[in-house]
């Protein structure tokens, strides 16, 4: 009732400018915010990586201290996973999903804005730890008990815990939103089996998220109780088993890696058909294999724990379930190749990145299968061989696909094409540098180089390949600079793209670039897969998609901007810092969030109209 007794500020109405961005609930703008923020954070994670590579380039280097090195890899891993790849995925979910399913917005536009601001709050919180007495330093999976107060009295871990909680809220908000949006806001006729693959994988990813995040949330809450209130969840001295943390983390963690890769696979499944001018080969099977991967992702978590002493039976079971995931993944790979087979393949930059994805992901997947053999993983676990695997699937997989997505959808978002000639340079540089950076890690790993070491002696014989990897990393930085150059240049003066530069197949290409605020002047009716292609080729006479004429524009009511999502997020941020420094501040933060939630609840999506 608070909201009814305190004066509510008037609803924001700014059509442009900073206030518009702060209060926007337009999925396209939120998508852009998400994307730009995540990319900047990707750069910070990359800079952290460059520091590490500089330190490791030569034996016994002294560029950073061991303590800082530990903070670097922790922040690098956490940043890349939670602040770069996940939100970049969310950026595309936001921008593209409503367009692909023929909707005017997402189901809960304000929840969407809230998701972004909360993500930003979490990012600020985590990154600020560098300046507030030291970043977290226990690795991205923060195994107990090294995260406990006795071994880690500083605030680094507290920042890690609280920012991950806040980020978790953001991810959950987005995931719930997309689950509902995709189930409920599809254009008439777009049955599940007519949904574009990217939409499908977004759906599956969102389901994974809403099921996986509660687990890490609880684990973090438990750790928080241990650290802040002297509870005993992971305290061995009280009889607790620190293995519980590992289980909880990886029950979340393995589905999480599929949360990182499934959107990428969705992106690839859009781009390859477009540039091969063929429909996706074996569509139902590709969909199914995505679902199966997600499902099986729940049965394999202990493959990260092969060496903790679970016993031969458990290790065998988890080895087998893990190997089994190669089957549905293989199906996807082969289906992409089947799509290209007898196609008319145009190697645009987006397509190059997609094929690069397939090639690199196979390498990463195969090293994954090598890990899955528990007995031989005893030699690999916690070595650079793992680091090689994870970068092949994460960089070679997720990042390559996201870069492909930028090249592919940039014209839709900005109305301009990215430069193809710079794009080619970008791709080849990335591709070569990526292999130069991460392939040698296979060697050093098998040569016995453990991960997370800040230094090594020259007698170990790891000098050469570390030097190569470091060179590769700086080359990779150069390739990212090329990419940034291309984006900025093309945004300013790229060739005008028109609405359908690639001869696209799905609905987003049927409307103007950039799309009008309401996306579709008239909601399309879908009668087939790849509806836009069908319409263009006239194979389905009645398909009526697209429009964008702007007629009847005045009858379209778009949800109106709102302050509240932003305010709730600010409250959360204040609350987060408060929990670390001062409980009173935390209470204030909580109160702000609570009041804003109330105000939000009683604020209509649209102001009642004056008829």
């Amino acid at each position: 009732m608070i909201s009814l007794t305190i004066p509510i500020p008037k609803r924001p109405t700014h059509p442009t400018g900073i206030w518009n961005w702060l209060t926007t609930i337009d999925h396209k703008r939120i998508g852009i915010l998400y994307g730009v923020t995540a990319f900047i954070l990707f750069l910070t994670g990359g800079i952290e990586a460059l520091y590490m590579r500089a330190q490791l380039a030569t034996p016994e280097a002294e560029i950073v201290s061991p303590e800082v090195f530990n903070q670097l890899f922790t922040m690098h891993g956490t940043t890349m996973i939670f602040l770069a790849i996940m939100p970049m995925g969310t950026a595309f979910f936001n921008y593209i999903i409503p367009l692909q399913i023929g909707a005017r917005d997402v189901a809960f536009p304000r929840l969407n804005a809230f998701s972004y601001w909360t993500f930003l709050a979490g990012a600020i919180m985590l990154k600020s730890s560098w300046f507030l007495g030291g970043a977290p330093n226990a690795g991205w999976f923060g195994y107990a008990p090294i995260t406990g107060v006795p071994y880690n009295p500083g605030h680094g871990i507290d920042f890690w815990i609280l920012s991950l909680q806040i980020l978790g809220i953001a991810s959950l908000a987005a995931a719930f939103n997309f689950v509902v949006t995709i189930i409920n806001m599809r254009a008439p006729g777009m049955s599940l089996m007519r949904m574009p693959l990217f939409t499908w994988m977004t759906f599956v990813t969102s389901l994974l998220l809403i099921l996986a995040f509660p687990v890490i949330t609880v684990a973090l809450i438990e750790l928080m109780f241990d650290r802040f209130y002297g509870a005993n969840f992971f305290v061995p001295a009280a009889g607790a088993s620190p293995l519980l943390w590992q289980h909880l983390f990886w029950i979340f963690g393995h589905p999480e890696v599929y949360i990182l890769i499934l959107p990428a696979m969705g992106i690839i499944s859009e781009i390859i058909p477009t540039f091969s001018k063929k429909p996706l080969f074996g569509y139902p099977v590709v969909v199914l294999s995505g679902v199966v991967i997600a499902f099986m992702g729940w049965m394999v978590w202990s493959h990260h724990m092969f060496t903790v002493g679970l016993g031969p039976v458990a290790n065998s079971v988890f080895a087998l379930t893990t190997m089994a995931i190669a089957v549905p993944t293989g199906v996807k790979i082969f289906s992409w190749m089947g799509t290209m087979w007898r196609g008319s393949i145009h190697f645009s930059t987006a397509m190059l990145f997609s094929v690069g994805f397939v090639a690199l992901f196979i390498i990463g997947g195969l090293s994954g299968v090598m890990h899955s053999s528990a007995a031989s993983d005893a030699q690999q676990q916690d070595t650079y061989f793992i680091v090689a695997h994870l970068h092949y699937v994460l960089f070679g997989g997720s990042i390559m696909a996201l870069l492909a997505a930028v090249y592919y959808w940039f014209p839709k978002i900005t109305g301009r094409l990215m430069s193809e000639s710079i794009g080619k340079i970008n791709f080849w540089l990335t591709f070569i540098a990526m292999n130069l950076t991460f392939f040698p890690m296979h060697f050093t790993g098998l040569d016995g180089m453990p991960r997370r070491i800040y230094t090594y002696g020259t007698e170990m014989g790891w000098d050469l390949w570390n030097a190569v990897a470091s060179m590769g990393a700086f080359l990779l930085a150069a390739s990212i600079l090329v990419f940034m150059h291309n984006v900025v240049r093309s945004y300013r003066k790229g060739e005008i793209s028109g609405s359908d530069p690639w001869d696209g197949r799905t609905l987003e290409w049927s409307i103007s670039s950039p799309p009008p605020e309401y996306n579709f002047a008239e909601i399309p009716v879908v009668e087939t897969r790849d509806p836009f292609w069908a319409q263009k080729r006239d194979s389905v006479a009645t398909a009526r998609v697209g429009g964008g004429s702007g007629e009847g524009e005045h009858d379209i009511h778009m949800p109106q901007p709102s302050y509240w999502p932003l305010v709730v997020s600010i409250g959360l941020l204040i609350g987060g810092y408060g929990l670390i420094y001062n409980v009173a501040v935390a209470v204030v933060g909580g109160a702000i969030a609570l009041i804003a939630v109330y105000a939000w609840s009683f604020e209509p999506v649209n102001e009642p109209e004056e008829h």
């Binding site: 061991p66 099977v285 060496t307 196609g343 094929v355 195969l366 016995g448």
Partner: protein, 349 residues
């Protein structure tokens, strides 16, 4: 792409290059290389690795060449009509589901067999060593031999050694790449493994689980020796420490058991005073080849450096953090104190 446009065969030349790369990666002579196993556990793991590796190479070569072929073959040429809009091919899809299953079965069987093989010691009644990990050093206890030592593991060649693994603080992982893959030491959870060295020599061990600031510096040596040498070593280890006679060393002993308070953390057998357990057992320190858990050679200079500023050799180490001589300026060791301590420690043969 343009590089290969007219000469797809050029790519083929890359294959041997790639193989050279791969082979270049296995340096059997490197101290922690997993390609040069000298024990049955590591050997079985290596065999398994090769088995899977070649399966992976097979998949890699077939799939990547198919991909390359497709990329080269089906490129769009100007004026191409739309290709036929095929939607799938059931038979093909079944084939590429079943083939990987078969391939996986081929790697799964030896995997499971090896897991079980390595799980149980072939000689559970043989020798036992209890390893206790600490941030960032190792304690090795031989209950049967009644020997307690640190940072250097002696084992007799060709004998099964049953190892039990524990930790005093955080999680560590016990790993001797050439002898056996790693097993973690988890608080409150004693793990078991077995090892067997089949070659006389000194091998490197390494903590493999991130355990804090000096994780990188948590190493150890494994000395595989003949039974006779091993017995001799056991006999000498059992001896209490010699009481030094040389004056400087005697002064060192006094310091050690007196003002420097070394005794509060270190054990020296035979001394009634030095019974600490926070740091490594120093009874036969000078018999060890390395200092500070495998970090530097055990030389006079290095020992001196260690005592002068432990933090430089091993950042964050607990001795530097907690010993009064380092964190209380009033108690700091003078150069002559250090000389005395070094003399004493060097006498602990």
């Amino acid at each position: 792409m343009s590089l290969f446009r007219h000469h797809p065969t050029r790519l083929v030349r890359l294959v041997p290059l790639l193989l050279v790369f791969i082979v270049a990666g296995c340096y059997p002579d490197h101290p922690q290389s997993t390609f040069d196993s000298t024990g049955p556990v590591a050997q079985s793991q290596l065999n398994l690795f090769y088995w899977i590796f070649w399966a992976a190479v097979f998949v890699f070569v077939t799939v990547q060449s198919a991909l390359l072929y497709i990329c080269l073959k089906f490129r769009r040429k100007p004026g191409d009509p739309d290709p036929e809009q095929t939607h799938g091919h059931n038979k093909l899809e079944i084939i590429w589901t079943v083939l990987p299953v078969i391939l996986l079965a081929i790697v799964a069987v030896p995997t499971v067999l090896t897991i079980f093989d390595n799980a149980n010691s072939p000689d559970p009644d043989g020798m036992h060593v209890n390893v206790v990990a600490h941030q960032w050093w190792w304690e090795f206890n031989y209950p049967g031999e009644d020997v307690k030592t640190s940072n250097e593991l002696h084992i007799p060649v060709d004998e099964v050694v049953n190892v039990s693994l524990e930790t005093k603080d955080v999680i560590h992982s016990f790993w001797i790449p050439k002898i056996a893959g790693k097993v973690d030491m988890v608080p409150g959870n004693s793990n078991k493994m077995w090892i067997k060295g089949e070659e006389i020599g000194i091998f490197h061990g390494q903590c493999a689980e991130f355990c804090g600031e000096s994780h990188a510096n948590m190493r150890f040596q494994v000395i595989v020796e003949s039974r006779a040498d091993f017995d001799a070593w056991v006999a000498s280890e059992r001896e209490p420490a010699v009481i030094p006679v040389e004056p400087l060393a005697k002064a060192g002993l006094d310091l050690f058991e007196g003002d420097a308070q070394c005794w509060s953390c270190h054990k020296v057998e035979g001394s009634s005073r030095s019974r600490g357990t926070k740091g490594p057992n120093l009874t036969h320190l000078s018999g060890r080849q390395y200092l500070g858990a495998g970090i530097v050679e055990n030389s006079q200079t290095n020992l001196r450096n260690w005592l002068t500023s432990p933090n430089d050799l091993k950042p964050g180490n607990i001795m530097y953090r907690d010993a009064a001589v380092y964190n209380d300026p009033d108690k700091a060791l003078s150069d002559s104190d250090i000389s005395a301590l070094v003399a004493y420690l060097r006498s602990l043969k």
